[in-house]
Symmetry: C2
C-alpha cells in the first residue's frame, strides 16, 4: 500500500460520545448519535440499527461456488426474492441473520441449506467484519466464502423455507457473471445487490 497522499493526522481520533433512541419497532431502531470529530467538535448523526443482533455481527453473506455435475466451469450460487424496502425482486448472495450464539460458519451452513438446499463442503475464507451502508446504519456481516457439494444443473435441491419466504436459486458461470447480471437487470427488472455487482466487476477484469 502506498502512503496516503493526504496528511491528515489520525492522532486526534473521532470518538463515539452518546446515543438516544428516537423510535423502535420490532426489527429496527432509529437513533441519534453524538460524536467528537477530528477537530474536537461535538456533532450529531442519525442512524438505524437492527434490534436482532446478539453477537458481534447481524448476519452473514455467503459466496458459494461449485462445478455442477456434467459441467466443467465454476458457478456461483445467487438467489432472488422480493425485497419490500426496494419494492422489487433483488439478486443477492444467499444470506441471513445469525441466531444467538451462532458463529459465522454455522450461520452460513444453516442459511445456505435453508435458502437453497445446498450443503457446504469446504469453507475457504471468512471475511473480517464488513459494513453494509456505513453512512446510515451499523448493519454488518461476515462474508463466508465456500464450496458446496455439486449438483446437476437440472436438480432441485430441497429448500427449507419459512411460509413467508419465496426464494429462487440461480447458478451462474463465474466467467459470465457480469454479463448475466446486466441481462437480468435489463430484461427481467431485477435489482442487483451492490456486493454482487462489485464482486462480478472484480472478476470481470475490465477495471
Amino acid at each position: 500500500m502506498s502512503l496516503p497522499p493526504s496528511d491528515q493526522p489520525h492522532t486526534s481520533l473521532s470518538t463515539h460520545l452518546a446515543e438516544e433512541t428516537l423510535h423502535q419497532t420490532r426489527w429496527l431502531r432509529l437513533k441519534k448519535l453524538s460524536y467528537m470529530d477530528e477537530s474536537q467538535v461535538k456533532r450529531e448523526w442519525d442512524c438505524v440499527e437492527r434490534t436482532t443482533r446478539s453477537g458481534e455481527i447481524d448476519g452473514v453473506d455467503i459466496i458459494a461456488t461449485m462445478i455442477p455435475l456434467e459441467e466443467t466451469e465454476k458457478h456461483v450460487v445467487l438467489i432472488s426474492q422480493y425485497r419490500p424496502p426496494m419494492r422489487a425482486y433483488c439478486i443477492e448472495f444467499p444470506a441471513g441473520l445469525c441466531d444467538s450464539g451462532e458463529s459465522a460458519e454455522q450461520a452460513a451452513e444453516r442459511e445456505l441449506l435453508e435458502e437453497t438446499g445446498l450443503k457446504i463442503c469446504k469453507i475457504s475464507r471468512v471475511s473480517s467484519i464488513v459494513g453494509l451502508e456505513v453512512g446510515m446504519t451499523n448493519a454488518n456481516c461476515r462474508i463466508v466464502c465456500c464450496e458446496v457439494e455439486p449438483i446437476k444443473i437440472s436438480e432441485r435441491p430441497k429448500q427449507q423455507l419459512e411460509d413467508e419466504e419465496h426464494i429462487t436459486i440461480h447458478l451462474v458461470k463465474l466467467s459470465k457473471l457480469f454479463d448475466v447480471l446486466e441481462e437480468m437487470t435489463k430484461n427481467h427488472g431485477f435489482i442487483i445487490d451492490a456486493k454482487v455487482w462489485t464482486y462480478a466487476f472484480g472478476i470481470s477484469n475490465i477495471h
Copy 2:
C-alpha cells in the same frame, strides 16, 4: 445463465401495497410497509429510507483507478473516514449523495474531486441501480467506474472538504488490494465496506 433449479413461479408476483411513516428525522425516515407476497398473503415489513433522494438514486459509489506517475501498476482510489453508525473508521470507495437534478456521472465527478482532489478523465462504466442493504432499506446507488488523471504517489491532490469532513486517501495496487485490506483491518482497526471487500475478493481470483 443456467435455469434456476427452483421451480417457483414468478407469475404471481409480490407487490407493494402501502406504507406508513413511523418517525422522521432530517436525514432518515422509518416506515412500515405492507405488501402482497407470492401466496397472495398480505404482510408487513419495517424499512428505513433517506429523506434526501430527489431522483432515482440516493448517490454514487466511485471505482476510480489510475497508474500513478513513476509507477507501472494500476491502483484503485480508496478513502477512510470516521463513520458514526459504525463507531469506527471505515475503508470505502469514494462516494456521495446526488444533488437535485445531477446525473450519476456528474455526481461522481463532483464527489471524487471534493473528497480526493482527483479528476476523472474517462468513465468506463456506470452500473444499473444497485441496492445496498435490501432487507432493511431502499438505499441505492449507481457505481461509476472511471480512470482519473494520474498523480505522483507523494503528491497531495487538493481536497475540497466540508468543515465536518475528514477524509484520508489511500492508493492501493489492484494486485495487492485483498492483502492490503486484510492488513488494514488486522493492524489498524479499519472496518471495510462490503462492496470494497467483494470487489477485492473478485479481483483476487481465489474464489
